[in-house]
Symmetry: C2
Subunit: 109 residues, 2 copies
């Protein structure tokens, strides 16, 4: 045991969970927020922004990329990362639909 039983859930559930899991770490939230703040592609400056070693950040970037939250393109010997708007838009809709559905029923707990 110890492995998540992904087989028993829908691919949608697994996908949303994977995307939120990728955001479920303060370092990765910080990376996303930094990318949002600089408002454009960034390259290697994340390492200077966060109190983590370069391999650790590289790993976090990889996870964000695997989950589809950021994308990167090679630029000389550096790599330019930026937020993948589509995924954010999808998550935004997910929570918006949820909040909307919750708006009606306050007869709970």
């Amino acid at each position: 045991m110890g492995a998540t039983k992904t087989d028993f859930f829908t691919s949608q559930q697994n996908q949303v969970a994977a995307q939120l899991k990728a955001l479920g770490h303060p370092a990765r939230i910080a990376i996303i927020e930094y990318l949002l703040k600089v408002n454009t592609c960034i390259c290697g400056d994340i390492v200077n922004e966060l109190p983590l070693a370069q391999p650790t950040i590289s790993q976090h970037l990889k996870e964000l990329k695997n989950a589809g939250l950021i994308k990167g393109s090679i630029e000389g010997n550096t790599i330019c990362y930026c937020i993948d708007e589509k995924t954010i838009a999808r998550l935004q809709k997910y929570f918006a639909a949820m909040a909307k559905k919750l708006a009606g029923n306050n007869n709970c707990c």
Copy 2:
């Protein structure tokens, strides 16, 4: 090592990360979606809905509760869980602000 370095991030970043982490598991997404579907408090029926053992579900519910995503009230010898709208609303705003800020700059990657 192996422990997340929460000390180095803002409490806001840690909080958002903790909430998204709690949602970062298909079983917990399924629980939230079920709570949303039944549109009212539920009690013990989640165990019948999910392909997981009762202790496992109890654990997932505990995590969702700790992260502030659901709340529960005792009702006889059962417990009534339901979604905590405030937390969902906060997350919804978080993603909405992000999506809005992203809307302008398509000059990336």
